[in-house]
């Protein structure tokens, strides 16, 4: 290196040091566990959150009446110690644990629970997920301005420690809903004084295993153990940090250098590398409640003909897509509801069979694809650094249908929001789609395609399907219910073929099992923060 260059670089370095020490950079001791969480949480307010990144953090701050067992993803007692189900499943009485306190010391009572749930329904909160409580008596009417008197809603505190919830009809997955982060218990006083910016308050009262220490957007999120949590004895770490990382290779580099201990977002594992990474001992995959599929717009001919839809579904070589493009070992999907979802029986789907497809297409009036109009496949760009999996699948599908059925498909890639607008407005022929379940029950997938569901987005309305789903959800016997749901799902993916399921998601976690323990891959993809232990850090501290 020549001398002037060295002097220049040194000067630059001194400038940088001056600038960074000028207050823009803060160094804190390393947290016990550092986790790459994917995109930045948009919010930590249970009433606002909708994304998985938020869902993974919020339960550590705010707990609900039940919580998820990190191993099995079934609801177990949380703030509520136990509950009674009465009136044929339409009334729940929850008994809170004695002596519950907020992290700031105030007692946590049944009133807080009632406040939190009514807040979720309150029109002024404008919560995306208010509908989770529409099953409660007068919940929907209160939420959509029908009634204004909150005391008419079927959520009441019977005394300091008991909450009674009255439902419109039995809800087989109600306890799952109670464990959902959306329904967690939030601090009334702070919210009433600070409005939308209540999460900036420090100390922030929390009802979960951790308290919020630092939350800097696009920078880091740091949690500290809450000693007043009812189960604090079983919280095995004292600080946990979440980093938002936008680029998969950056996440991997940080992991390799030991800056982070865990990567637990599937978008941050580069899919091109999956077949290499898969064989490493620190790679952990588990079934996850999500499905990648293709929607048909059933209002656009010729896709209003079920035979055409079936023909296209039969001609897709799903195995090639999974093995060559996705490469993470994901299972091929022939149904909408992923295997492993509780209380689910899978119907027979359409097993790929190009010959049968060609025959059906001919029956529909398009022998060898003759006369079939050129149609479009709508998909969104993977902005933000994720692997461009949508474009790759689109390219594969285009070629498969050209070769197998002799029909021509154009690709129409749109920026995400434009894509959503097009899908919502039924301005497409075929569209790339995916769905992640909210709770561990088939209903979280199947109710999408009810005629009046805003997420249907296919134009498909089927009275028989609607009837089956409604009947199933009134059915108290689990076996009978899953039978009804199976029939409905069969209608969706086989007889009517409104969607072409391509594959079921897997969840991925990257961590060294020798150092990190207590992290679980459950079907909801939500491992509990409180149980994650970093053995290496503990050793360091002891020394």
């Amino acid at each position: 290196m020549s001398k002037p260059l060295r002097i220049f670089l040194q000067g630059l370095f001194i400038l940088a040091s001056g600038l960074t020490s000028g207050g823009c950079v803060r160094q804190q001791p390393r947290a016990d566990v550092v986790i790459v969480n994917g995109a930045d949480p948009e919010s930590l307010d249970p009433a606002i959150i909708t994304a998985l990144e938020d869902y993974r953090v919020v339960p550590a701050l705010f707990e609900g009446l039940t919580r998820i067992d990190p191993k099995t993803a079934v609801p177990i007692p949380g703030l509520a110690e136990n509950w009674e189900v009465r009136e044929e499943g339409t009334e729940y009485v929850f008994q809170l644990r004695p002596g519950l306190r907020w992290s700031t010391g105030e007692p946590l009572t049944a009133d807080d629970v009632v406040f939190s749930w009514l807040r979720l329904l309150d029109p002024l909160t404008a919560a995306d997920y208010a509908a989770q409580l529409f099953c409660v008596k007068n919940g929907e009417a209160f939420s959509t301005n029908g009634i204004t008197d909150a005391s008419k809603v079927g959520i009441h505190a019977l005394d300091r420690n008991r909450v009674r919830v009255q439902l419109n009809h039995p809800v087989p997955y109600f306890l799952d809903l109670c464990a959902s982060p959306t329904m967690a218990v939030v601090p009334r006083k702070v919210i009433e004084t600070h409005g939308d910016r209540w999460l900036q308050v420090r100390p922030l009262p929390s009802s979960g295993s951790h308290t919020l220490e630092v939350w800097r957007l696009n920078d880091k999120l740091r949690l500290r153990k809450n000693p007043l949590y009812w189960d604090a004895a079983n919280t095995v770490n004292s600080t946990v940090e979440f980093l938002p990382v936008g680029s998969p290779s950056t996440a991997l580099n940080l992991y390799e250098r030991g800056v982070v201990d865990i990567i637990w977002d599937k978008d941050l594992v580069p899919s091109e590398l999956l077949d290499d990474l898969k064989s490493r001992p620190d790679f952990h995959a588990f079934p996850y409640i999500g499905t990648y599929f293709v929607r048909f717009n059933t209002t656009h001919p010729p896709f209003n003909d079920p035979r055409v839809r079936q023909a296209l579904a039969l001609a897709v070589n799903k195995r090639r897509i999974v093995e060559r493009i996705i490469r993470g070992g994901e299972p091929v999907a022939h149904q909408l509801v992923p295997t492993g979802v509780a209380k689910h029986q899978a119907p027979d789907g359409l097993i790929p069979d190009p010959d049968a497809g060609r025959k059906l297409l001919a029956e529909a009036g398009f022998p060898q694809g003759k006369g079939f109009p050129v149609f479009q496949y709508l998909f969104d760009s993977a902005a933000g650094g994720g692997a461009k999996v949508h474009a790759k699948i689109a390219v594969e599908l285009q070629e498969m249908w050209r070769r197998e059925l002799g029909i021509r498909m154009e690709l129409r890639q749109l920026e995400k929001k434009v894509y959503l607008a097009a899908q919502n407005g039924l301005d497409y022929d075929l569209s790339r789609s995916s769905w992640l379940g909210d709770y561990n029950d088939p209903n979280t997938f199947l109710d999408l395609f009810l005629s009046n569901n805003g997420n249907n987005r296919t134009g498909w309305k089927n009275a028989r399907y609607d009837g089956l789903i409604h009947r199933a959800n009134l059915e108290r016997d689990d076996l009978q219910r899953s039978e009804l749901l199976r029939e409905a799902e069969s209608l969706l993916v086989r007889q009517e073929a409104v969607v072409i399921p391509l594959y079921f998601y897997l969840g991925f976690q990257f961590y060294d099992g020798n150092r990190i323990e207590g992290i679980h891959g459950n079907i909801l993809g939500m491992s509990a923060v409180r149980t994650i232990r970093n053995k290496a850090m503990e050793k360091g501290r002891d020394r």
Binding site: D45, D219, S247, N455
Partner: protein
């Protein structure tokens, strides 16, 4: 006087920018609250829009925005609903500016000498070598340079951290990644600027007076030859100080460059307009400084 007039003139320009940006973002399809999953009832969607006044006529909304702006309130972010736009700018802007300033110094520190050298040795081997390097800086984008630098100096040689923003060492690779492209452009512009005036009459005159070659280059040729670089510095510095999406994303730097792009993608209306205003203030002030620097470097320039 000139300065005062220019500063006063900035107000209507800012107003124009805020108005255009405000209307433009609303022309784009899709809104801030359109997600992969819609709320189960249209009533909920309507209420969210109502809460953030998106249901009002556009001009009313703009009036509301302006009245907030006068009080220094940029409004709540529509994506990060627990944060206000000011929260995010105050948090991220200093970080982006730190990195941007380092990259600016790097760009000038590398670009000016190499351009000068090229111009001095015009047509010679040194010129070609230096031009080649400058051009590769210009046409190999940051999203290629960055990962390669990380691979070599952070992953393999472990000389620098791979990402994050915690110490001056963390700034080295991002600075180079960000600055390289600009240094290439600075170098090319300076070379051209100097060559263009090398044979101008006043340079000939200076040479005729018997000044040595090198001092003519420094005192006369450089002074005027650097003008294109000065012109370019305004937008360049404004770009650098407001962060770069690619570099901040790659090195996980908590600046506002990422928000510049992501707010557009997520249709975070208030955030887009807020960031545009921040950018515009920087750009206008810097362009003013450029014009002042112009007059200082080339006394014959007048703006009347």
């Amino acid at each position: 006087m000139y300065l005062v007039r220019r500063l006063m003139g900035m107000l209507p320009v800012m107003l124009g920018i805020s108005f255009l940006a405000f209307m433009l973002v609303r022309l784009a399809p899709g809104g801030p609250f359109d997600h992969e999953r819609r709320p189960a009832s249209p009533e909920i969607e309507r209420r969210i829009r109502e809460k953030y006044h998106l249901d009002e006529p556009l001009l009313t909304q703009y009036g509301r925005y302006l009245s907030g702006l006068i009080r220094g309130d940029l409004g709540p972010s529509l994506k990060y609903r627990n944060h206000s736009v000011s929260d995010i700018v105050i948090q991220g802007l200093p970080v982006s500016m730190t990195l941007g300033l380092c990259a600016f110094v790097f760009a000038l520190g590398v670009g000016l000498p190499s351009g000068f050298y090229s111009a001095a040795k015009q047509g010679g081997f040194g010129d070609y070598a230096s031009s080649l390097i400058a051009l590769s800086g210009v046409c190999v984008p940051a999203f290629v340079v960055g990962p390669l630098l990380v691979m070599e100096f952070a992953v393999r040689k472990k000389m620098f951290p791979v990402a994050l923003f915690e110490s001056p060492m963390h700034l080295v690779l991002p600075t180079v990644t960000l600055g390289l492209y600009f240094s290439g452009r600075v170098s090319r512009l300076l070379r051209e600027g100097m060559i263009a005036v090398r044979n101008a009459e006043f340079v000939m005159a200076a040479r005729a007076k018997g000044l040595s070659d090198i001092s003519v280059l420094f005192r006369h040729v450089f002074r005027i030859g650097v003008l294109p670089v000065v012109s370019y510095s305004g937008p360049m510095l404004a770009d650098l100080l407001t962060g770069s999406f690619v570099v901040e994303n790659l090195f996980q730097i908590p600046g506002i460059g990422v928000f510049m792009v992501n707010s557009s993608l997520s249709r975070d209306y208030t955030m887009i307009v807020g960031l545009v205003l921040v950018y515009a203030v920087l750009l206008l002030v810097l362009n003013l400084l450029v014009d002042v620097a112009y007059r200082w470097l080339d006394p014959r320039v007048s703006y009347e």
